[in-house]
C-alpha cells in the first residue's frame, strides 16, 4: 500500500521523466548499494523531486544531448555558477533523462562535501563522489560518466559581473581524460549564472566549506536553463595515456576543453531571447 502510494507520487512528480530505472548501470554489491554508496531507489526518488524544478521552475531546454556516448568512460565538463548547485542538479537530471538506457552521472564534488552532515550522505546515494584522485580513477576504470565542473568552488561563487566568463580552469579532468582515454563532452549551461546573484561571502570554515555565501535573493530566480552539449573532444585519439604526465600537453588539452565550453556559452547566449524566456 505504502509502496504503491510512493510509486504513484513518484510518477506524478516525475511526469514524462518517469522511466524504468532498472536499466540504470550499477555496480550493486548485493545490498542495492554500489561501493560509493549510490542506490537506485534514491536516484529514482531524486529524479522525481528534481523533475518539477526541471520542468516548471527552470523550464530546462536541452540541445545536443545525443553527443553523450551511450557507454564507456566519459567526462562531461561544464561551466559552474549560481551560488547553490542547482546547475549540477539540472545537468544530472538532463543526462539521466536523455540517455537511453539511462546513464548514472557521477558528479565530482569538492573534498569538503562528504563532511557536510545529511548533504554528504544524500549526495553519495545519488552517485555524487568526492574528487579525490583514487575515486575518479576507479570510476573511469569502470567506464562511468563523470560530471566535472573545472571551475570548482570559485566558479559557483563567481561575482555577478563575471557571469559567463570562465574562472580559473582546473586541469585535472584533462589529465584524467588522457590517462583513461575518455572523450570529453563540453557543456555550456545558460541561465544559472543569473539565478542567484551573490552579494557577499563570509569567510567561515563550516565542515570544511570555504565560505558562507550571501545571495541577493532567498530563492533562485526562475531563470530558464539552456543546456548545450558540444561534440565530444577526442582527447583519447589525440593523445596517448602516457602523455598525461606531460604538463604542457595536459594544459593544452584543458585549454581545448575550456575554449569549447566558452564557445558553446557564447553561442548559447547569442541564441537566447531573454533570461526568463
Amino acid at each position: 500500500m505504502l509502496k504503491s502510494l510512493r510509486q504513484q507520487l513518484r510518477s506524478t512528480l516525475a511526469g514524462p521523466f518517469d522511466r524504468d530505472y532498472s536499466e540504470l548501470r550499477f555496480d550493486d554489491r548485493g545490498h542495492g548499494y554500489d561501493p560509493f554508496g549510490a542506490h537506485r531507489d534514491w536516484v529514482e526518488g531524486a529524479a522525481a523531486v528534481i523533475a518539477p524544478l526541471y520542468r516548471w521552475y527552470f523550464r530546462v531546454r536541452s540541445y545536443g544531448s545525443e553527443q553523450i556516448p551511450a557507454s564507456g568512460p566519459v567526462i562531461v565538463a561544464s561551466n559552474h555558477s549560481g551560488t547553490l548547485p542547482f546547475d549540477g542538479a539540472m545537468l544530472y537530471m538532463d543526462i539521466v533523462h536523455h540517455t537511453n538506457p539511462p546513464r548514472l552521472p557521477r558528479p565530482i564534488v569538492d573534498l569538503f562535501v562528504p563532511s557536510l552532515p545529511v548533504v554528504g550522505t544524500t549526495f553519495s546515494r545519488l552517485g555524487v563522489v568526492a574528487g579525490s584522485r583514487g575515486n575518479v580513477h576507479r570510476l573511469l576504470n569502470r567506464g562511468e560518466l563523470l560530471l566535472i565542473f573545472p571551475e570548482g568552488t570559485p566558479g559557483i561563487g563567481k561575482p555577478f559581473s563575471e557571469r559567463y566568463h570562465l574562472q580559473t580552469w582546473r586541469e585535472g579532468h584533462a589529465e584524467l581524460a588522457i590517462r583513461h582515454q575518455a572523450p570529453v563532452v563540453p557543456v555550456a549551461m545558460i541561465g544559472p549564472e543569473e539565478q542567484m546573484p551573490q552579494i557577499a561571502q563570509i569567510p567561515v570554515s563550516l565542515f570544511g566549506a570555504p565560505y558562507l555565501p550571501i545571495p541577493l535573493t532567498l530563492l533562485p530566480l526562475p531563470v530558464r536553463y539552456h543546456i548545450h552539449y558540444g561534440a565530444p573532444i577526442p582527447l583519447h585519439r589525440d593523445y596517448r595515456p602516457e602523455q598525461a604526465d606531460d604538463p604542457a600537453i595536459v594544459h593544452e588539452a584543458a585549454q581545448r576543453i575550456k575554449d569549447a565550453v566558452q564557445c558553446l556559452l557564447d553561442h548559447g547566449l547569442r541564441q537566447r531571447e531573454g533570461v526568463f524566456t
Binding site: 554489491r29 548485493g30 545490498h31 548499494y33 561501493p35 560509493f36 554508496g37 573534498l111 569538503f112 562535501v113 562528504p114 563532511s115 557536510l116 552532515p117 545529511v118 548533504v119 554528504g120 550522505t121 553519495s124 563522489v129 568526492a130 579525490s132 584522485r133 583514487g134 575515486n135 576507479r138 570544511g208
Partner: protein
C-alpha cells in the same frame, strides 16, 4: 610441501584456517600455536595436526617454538594471526604480542632451516578513512598515523609496517593480508560489540559504507596466500558492502541518530557501566566516512574473491 605453523590457532579464524588446510589433501603437517593449555583447546582430531602452547609475547618462547617443534616438523610456512583482539588490551603487554612478537618472529623465521613463507593477518583498520581520501581503499591508501590514534589501531599499523619493511630484505616470501572487518563474535570486531545494544547510536547526518567479511572468507584467503609464492600487501575485501544504517537494521537493532559530539560520551558511559569493548574513538572516522576495500590485487594475484556473505538472520538471532 605444505607444512604450516599457525599462530593464534585457538581463535575462530585460526580454527577455520586449520579446518580449511586439513581439508586439502596436500597438507602434510600443521603446528597450531595458542596461549591456552592443550586441555582447554578444541581442535580437530587429525594426525597431521599438532598443538603446542606458547606465549609469543616472549622472545624465548618464540625461539623454543621455531627451533623446537617447528624445526622437527620441517614446517615451511607461517600464518601469523596472534594479536590481542580486545580494544581494552592496552599497554606494554598488548604491545609485546601485537608488535614485538613480529620483530622477534621474523628474524628467527629467516634463520630457520625450512621456513620460506610468512603470511601476516592485518586489518583494514590500518587505513586512514577521511573525507578527503578515496572511498575505495587500495593497498597504497594512506595509513592511519594520526597523532592521537588509540593503541589498538597504532599497534596494528606498526605491526603491519614492521612486516612490510622486511619485504625484499628477507629470504622469506612475505605477504600481508589486510582483511575487512569480520562481523562475528570473538573476532575482535568493534562493530559486533557495537551491535550488542538494542539501540545503536550513530552520528546524525552520516551513513558511511562498510565492507564486512566472514570467517569463512578470511580462512580461504589465508589458505590461498599460504599456498602462493606472491609477495606484497593484499586487501581482502568482503562480499557485504552496505551502509551502517543497513547493518544496524539487518542485525535487528534500532538506529538512533545523535549529534556526533555526543557519541563519544555516550559510548564511554556505556563502556564504563556495561564493560563493553566498543570504543567510539576507534571508530569515529569510519562512522562518518566510507571505506571499502579494493580487492582487485588479491583477485588477480591470489585468485581470491569473496564468496561468503554474512548470514544476517543467524547474526541477529545470536545477538542479545
Amino acid at each position: 610441501m605444505n607444512r604450516h605453523l599457525i599462530t593464534g590457532a585457538t581463535t575462530p579464524l585460526g580454527r577455520a584456517l586449520i579446518a580449511e588446510l586439513l581439508a586439502a589433501p596436500d597438507t602434510e603437517a600443521i603446528l597450531a600455536v595458542g596461549i591456552e593449555p592443550p586441555s582447554r583447546v578444541d581442535l580437530p582430531d587429525d594426525p597431521r595436526l599438532t598443538y603446542t602452547r606458547a606465549n609469543l609475547a616472549r622472545s624465548r618462547s618464540i625461539r623454543k617454538l621455531l627451533f623446537g617443534p617447528a624445526k622437527d616438523l620441517k614446517l615451511t610456512t607461517i600464518a601469523h594471526l596472534a594479536q590481542h583482539r580486545s580494544a581494552a588490551a592496552q599497554g606494554r603487554e598488548a604491545y609485546a604480542l601485537n608488535v614485538e612478537s613480529i620483530r622477534d618472529l621474523m628474524p628467527m623465521a629467516e634463520r630457520h632451516p625450512t621456513l620460506r613463507r610468512f603470511v601476516y593477518r592485518s586489518y583494514a583498520e590500518v587505513y586512514a578513512v577521511r573525507a578527503d581520501k578515496p572511498q575505495i581503499l587500495a593497498e597504497d591508501h594512506p595509513l592511519n598515523l594520526a597523532p592521537r590514534t588509540p593503541q589498538w589501531i597504532r599497534d596494528r599499523v606498526e605491526a603491519d609496517l614492521t612486516v612490510c619493511t622486511r619485504m625484499g630484505m628477507s629470504p622469506l616470501s612475505i605477504s600481508v593480508l589486510r582483511f575487512a572487518e569480520c562481523l562475528a563474535p570473538d573476532m575482535g570486531s568493534q562493530l559486533h560489540d557495537y551491535l550488542q545494544s538494542r539501540v545503536c547510536f550513530r552520528p546524525l547526518g552520516f551513513d558511511p559504507m562498510l565492507n564486512l567479511t566472514t570467517v569463512a572468507d578470511m580462512a580461504r584467503a589465508l589458505a590461498l596466500a599460504l599456498r602462493s609464492e606472491a609477495q606484497g600487501v593484499f586487501n581482502i575485501p568482503a562480499w557485504d558492502t552496505l551502509p551502517l544504517s543497513r547493518v544496524i537494521q539487518l542485525a535487528g537493532r534500532r538506529a538512533v541518530p545523535v549529534p556526533g559530539p555526543l557519541m563519544t560520551p555516550l559510548y564511554a558511559m556505556r563502556s564504563r557501566t556495561l564493560g563493553t569493548d566498543f570504543r567510539y574513538d576507534l571508530n569515529a572516522w569510519r562512522f562518518h566516512f566510507s571505506g571499502v576495500l579494493d580487492g582487485s590485487r588479491a583477485r588477480h594475484v591470489l585468485g581470491f574473491d569473496p564468496t561468503h556473505p554474512i548470514d544476517w538472520a543467524t547474526l541477529a538471532a545470536l545477538l542479545p
